[in-house]
Amino acid sequence: MTSTIILEQTFNGLQAGVTLFLVAAGLTLILGIMDFVFLAHGAQVMIGAYFAAAITAASGNFYLGILLAIPLTFASGYVLEFLVIRHLYRRDHMEQVLATFGLILFFNELIRIGFGPAALYSDLPPSLSGFVEILPDTPYPAYRLGVIGVGLACALAIHLFVSRTRIGAMVRAGANNPEMTAALGVNIRILFRLIFAAGACFAGVAGMLLGPLTAVQPGMGEPLLILSLVVIIIGGIGSVRGAFIAAIIVGLADTLGRVFLPGLLRLVFDQATADGAGPALASMLVYILMAVVLIFRPTGLFPAKG
């Protein structure tokens, strides 16, 4: 366990964290402002990845794929909100869970019919397939550094948007007290639609960035969905800042836990026990983290509601 490996793993955790944040950023606002339990957010990740992968495959240009996929995912989110979601705001959480559960099934099946059940081919853009020396003789994949960069950039953009712009002010007000915002005569319906589309878009970006790294296949978003929900809860529903910090925490905890827990346990228990318990504990880690946070801070670390 040299310091370089720890550093490298920290980068990995960071990369996982920012990716999570991209998914969680929109979702936390959807949950916070619209008080809407949206389980199909993972589908947005998948949709983004498929748009990008398909266009990239067709055009042969990765960046073109991303460039075109972003507005497409935004549009898809906008349309989805208009067709289905807006009819669900006033329903209780259970019905929302049910309906968006239905959406998951629908989207996965749609993709499966449209692109076939097999995973899509996607690979790194040649320009980013190299390595960067983050420390002498510790090469790190350039693309993943790129992901971290893009993620942080998005985070900054979202932060500035929410904290500096007028719409951002509405968003904050909305997260703080929806009724109040409505009373202020803000056109809630448009605001909601935009937030939703933007959220879908960011989730899509996460998918596009993951595309070259992981298998682009139906249902690829679900694991991310559950994790990003954990992030949102830990961070406090409706708080973008909370989502960011929590995303980094979860990303690091998950990564470092997976890698170092078995080793640590071996110091305490015998080999067999450690090998059994280590991975199990590692896969439970984030949920334990969330449960603990909720037990001591029942509304997350940075509750947005006033």
Binding site: T2, T4, I5, E8, Q9, N12, G13, Q15, A16, E109, R112, G116, P117, A118, A119, L120, Y121, S122, D123, L124, S129, F131, P139, P141, Y143, R144, L210, P212, L213, T214, A215, V216, Q217, P218, G219, M220, P223, T255, L256, R258, V259, P262, D275, G278, P279, A280, A282, S283
Partner: protein, 399 residues
């Protein structure tokens, strides 16, 4: 006002639903219509959901086998009922009951997953129906919990990694770094590997089931810099792993071996990334025998891509049923069982021998990943690691 409108709409929807359901029932009963002197095969696989691709390939292969046999098995009019277990054990149990009790099939075949097999084996074998597995081979079924009515046309889980272990042992590999998902099959695989590889285990890492990003594990692997690495990451996980392995340039650090992680299912998504990765398998598209040549050629012309080992095993499953009926001249369970137990079943893997626990005794090959004449990435046999390899649980199996 609006309420009433919804009410009306609702009624319409409901009526529609009822009518559709009625049609459904009709169709359903139609399917269950009994016919005379027909051999009925229930083929269970996973068609919906994430693993649908595997099920699709098996379905294609089964249909191809029927075509090759002119729609008859052992001379009898054949009817195959495909059912989708959704990869859910309880759904599978219910479907199994339907196949044996309602469709009254003579043979149940297929099944991809160990847990699904574990769930359905009892109700099927108890009803004195043959169950012929096309893929999963968990150790309990090969050992204590074996049943005379169950036959495997694939392998016992441990065998393929055993072959890999043997090869690496013979190749003089000093140390290996092992990686598999943290679930039963993963653990079986590694224990099977270790049964034949006696060198040093530089590391043994269990990843999260269904994990999509292995960067963290790969980083620690880079740090450990083992001589070789042996992974078991089936399905989508395999695609992710191999991709990320290449992207992190680990080929310069360690030599990668795999089982069940690179196959015709994942290759289209991996393409060149998979080139040169060694694996072991009991089948390969280039196995040189008439049945296999015909199967692979026709499958490619019909579906445009290479069949996977799943497909080959599904194809062999149908051949086995055909063989059993043809030889015994009957679809009676006892007689078919007797024939299959004798072995010498003509398959894409040549004449397949049967072990006392009704698992095949077969060759295991070392496969390389190469480009074929038309530049399509596929696998090619390099050498035979095991000749007539039997699994190590047969001893515990008493019918």
């Amino acid at each position: 006002m609006l309420e009433i409108n919804w009410g009306v709409k609702m009624k319409k929807i409901m009526v529609a639903a009822v009518v559709l359901a009625a049609i459904g029932v009709g169709v359903y009963l139609l399917i269950n219509e009994q016919k005379k002197e027909v051999v009925r095969v229930g083929y269970m696989t996973t068609l919906s959901g994430g693993a649908g691709i595997i099920g699709k390939q098996m379905q294609n292969a089964v249909q191809l086998a029927l075509e090759h046999k002119g729609g008859r098995l052992g001379g009898m009019e054949a009817e195959v009922i495909f059912v989708d277990d959704q990869r859910k054990p309880d759904v599978a149990t219910q479907l199994a009951n339907r196949l044996v009790k309602s469709d009254r099939v003579d043979v149940v075949a297929g099944i991809i997953w160990s847990n699904v097999l574990m769930a359905v084996i009892k109700p099927i074998t108890r009803s004195d129906t043959l169950l012929i597995g096309s893929n999963a081979g968990p150790s309990p079924i090969a050992g204590e919990q074996c049943h005379e009515n169950f036959f495997s046309m694939s392998w016992q889980n441990d065998q393929t990694p055993e072959a890999m272990g043997k090869h690496m042992q013979d190749a003089g590999v000093k140390s290996v770094y092992l990686m598999a998902p943290n679930y039963q099959a993963g653990k079986d695989m590694l224990s099977g590997f270790k049964r034949y590889f006696k060198g040093e285990i530089a590391g043994e890492v269990y990843t999260k089931l269904g994990q999509s990003d292995f960067q963290a594990e790969l980083s620690s692997l880079r740090a450990a810099a083992p001589e070789t690495t042996m992974v078991f990451q089936p399905g989508g996980m395999g695609i992710n792993f191999v991709k990320q392995w290449k992207q992190s340039g680990l080929d310069q650090v360690s030599k990668l071996y795999q089982v069940f992680s690179v196959d015709a299912v994942s290759l289209p998504a991996l393409k060149d990334a998979a080139l040169g990765i060694l694996g072991t398998q009991s089948w390969s598209p280039d196995l040189d025998n008439d049945i296999n040549r015909k199967f692979v050629a026709d499958y490619k012309t019909k579906h445009g891509n290479y069949p996977s080992f799943y497909a080959a095993q599904a194809y062999d499953t149908i051949l086995a049923i055909d063989h059993a009926i043809a030889t015994s001249g009957s679809k009676d369970t006892d007689q078919m069982r007797a024939v299959l137990a004798k072995g010498n079943i003509p398959t894409t893997r040549g004449l397949l021998k049967m072990n006392s626990n009704h698992f095949p005794v077969q060759n295991f090959y070392l496969r390389d990943t190469v480009k074929d004449a038309d530049g399509v990435v596929t696998t090619k046999v390099l050498s035979t690691v095991f000749a007539d390899h039997a699994d190590s649980y047969a001893a515990n199996c008493k019918f």
